[in-house]
């Protein structure tokens, strides 16, 4: 049975606070998330072990510079606990890779979210997405498909996987809800209280 956490803070801030707590309290040794790497707005995936550096993360940013499933596959098995914030399709890719013995789920706490899709890398490279971001998040709140996201995202029917440890509901939500969907996640929550 899932537990639902409600928050009055903006959902991305709540998520960042949660990640900070997990890292600070040594529940995990590192956070795997999208992060902004410069003022231009370039993003990449990072493995972050320093709490101060969590200010740079942008876990819900609608860009996919690489498939996180593939990245995680490259450096598993992981001996230390890591929390990873990934899109549903990236999570599914990682699950598939584990079946092919190209990755291992052990020691990961997975956070996924209902995904509004990502912009084209081409638009990102041409710096066209900054002005579209507000409209994108409005679309997500209204449960609509933003016109500028990739065609494959527009037709994606697996936007909300519930088999991760923590699931964040964003689509159609004013401020999102956090679901604890595994025992591992509930244990972290109990410790937090």
């Amino acid at each position: 049975m899932s537990k639902i956490l409600k928050t009055n803070n903006p959902i991305e801030q709540t998520l960042k606070d949660l990640l900070k707590y997990l890292l600070d309290s040594k529940h995990v040794s590192a956070v795997f998330s999208l992060r902004k790497v410069n003022k231009k707005g370039s993003v990449d995936y990072g493995l972050i072990s320093d709490v101060a550096k969590l200010n740079e993360i942008a876990p819900l940013h609608p860009i996919m510079p690489a498939n996180a499933g593939q990245l995680l596959g490259r450096f598993t098995p992981m001996d230390k606990p890591v929390v990873a914030v990934v899109r549903p399709c990236e999570f599914r890719a990682f699950v598939e890779l584990t079946k092919r013995e190209q990755g291992q789920m052990d020691n990961f706490l997975f956070i996924t979210y209902s995904c509004g899709g990502v912009f084209l890398l081409k638009d990102y490279a041409e710096d066209k997405i900054k002005k579209k971001l507000d409209g994108y998040w409005d679309s997500v709140k209204k449960g609509e498909i933003h016109e500028s996201i990739r065609n494959s995202c527009k037709t994606c029917e697996h936007i909300a996987p519930l088999n991760s440890d923590i699931f964040i509901s964003l689509i159609g939500e004013e401020n999102g809800k956090i679901y604890l969907t595994s025992d591992k996640a509930e244990k972290c929550w109990k410790d937090l209280k």
Partner: protein, 384 residues
């Protein structure tokens, strides 16, 4: 100017440059001077070109010798054919000058065998960016036809690296098609080329001075563009912070390497398991620095490539065409190549006879380093 290049053969070009070149190759096949001709041909979908080895005279007319784009560097196509030694057939291959230069570099690296291959080049107006062409081939074809008709060597429509290319004309080919206001002049540039003209009973009687002067004028314009562009690129890549900022959007796809004609290694370090550390090392790096970017080592990949192939970089620009996040890879590599090649007094693709700097040790090279060593030795002696 060598003796061989004082005069050329004026070719009939009433039906256009492309038709004239095709007719020339049809004649060579008919006279059995070649068994096949390697030319670009439009793919059935109409939005790109492929290199085709053509034996049948009738099929030659389907080719487009001066293609508006460069989806694959011709040197790479020729490598596929001759990498395991010369084939059974005598081949003619028509390429852009940068493709000729890549072919020469690959020949030195034993990836291409030119024994039975005759290389033809032409005055290149530049290639259109791949993505622009694929988005609208019809407009691309119109633009390129106009560039050829106007003999415009300074168009804004061509790839950025073509705008700064000063080696757009005669290269190390055996024969060269020169475009001038009279139409098309065929020049021989080697003994192989001379022999072909003799076999075809073609007499080199057209003076080349006017064409050569025009090419020199265009080169001067391109060189100026090149200097200005390199000043900007220098600021983007010199210093580690600038370099990381410039490559910040890199997604680690390695398309630049896959498309590069010079990156020929079948076993690349960056694709090997050695370059993919396990979780312990990734976590150790994250703990050391507070955070680590993934995929790992993207800057090392680009600097490694610079160290590995910039001496042979011919600035064909395919790396930029292949980059999904618009990093100006070609201009960056062109700039780095200009520096490394200058250091070793080497010009990539200029001649098969020039020894690759990586293959040669000269006592007198890098004199300034020798001075540093001497000075260090003197200082060491003083301490003793």
């Amino acid at each position: 100017m060598t003796e061989i290049l004082k005069k050329g053969v004026l070719l009939e070009a009433k039906s256009g440059i492309q038709a004239s070149i095709l007719q020339f190759f049809q004649d060579t096949i008919e006279k059995k001077l070649f068994d096949a001709v390697m030319l670009p041909m439009k793919v059935p979908s109409g939005d790109s070109f492929a290199w085709i080895m053509i034996k049948e005279q009738d099929i030659i007319t389907d080719a487009q010798p001066l293609a508006p784009i460069m989806p694959v560097n011709a040197a790479k196509a020729l490598k596929r054919y001759t990498r395991k030694g010369k084939g059974k057939y005598k081949i003619a291959a028509l390429m852009k000058p940068c493709e000729i230069r890549a072919t020469i570099e690959l020949t030195k690296l034993n990836q291409v065998h030119l024994e039975d291959v005759t290389l033809f080049s032409y005055d290149c107006v530049g290639a259109l960016p791949m993505q622009d062409y694929i988005n609208n081939p019809k407009i691309g074809d119109e633009k390129f036809s106009k560039l050829l008709a106007d003999k415009n060597w300074n168009s804004e429509d061509v790839k950025p690296v073509c705008k700064i290319c000063d080696k757009f004309s005669l290269s190390a080919s055996d024969l060269h098609f020169a475009l001038n206001d009279q139409g098309l002049i065929l020049l021989s540039n080697s003994e192989k080329g001379e022999k072909l003209l003799t076999d075809l009973n073609l007499k080199a009687e057209t003076d080349l001075t006017k064409w050569q002067n025009y090419i020199e004028e265009q080169k001067a314009i391109k060189l100026k563009n090149r200097e200005e562009t390199f000043e900007i690129i220098k600021g983007m890549v010199e210093g580690f912070e600038n370099l990381t900022e410039t490559f910040a959007n890199c997604i680690g796809c390695h398309n630049c390497s896959s498309s590069c004609p010079i990156c020929y290694c079948r076993q690349c370090y960056f694709d090997s398991s050695v370059s993919k550390p396990n979780s312990d090392i990734v976590m150790m790096r994250a703990e050391d620095r507070g955070a680590v970017s993934l995929p790992l080592d993207r800057i090392m990949f680009h600097t490694g490539r610079m160290a590995h192939m910039s001496l042979s970089c011919v600035s064909c620009g395919l790396c930029s065409d292949a980059c999904p996040v618009n990093i100006p890879v070609a201009k960056i590599f062109s700039y780095v190549a200009s520096q490394t090649q200058k250091t070793f007094e080497y010009s990539a693709g200029a001649s098969v006879g020039d020894v690759l700097p990586m293959k040669e040790y000269r006592l007198d090279e890098l004199g300034e380093l020798g001075e540093l060593v001497k000075s260090a030795e003197v200082q060491e002696g003083n301490h003793e």
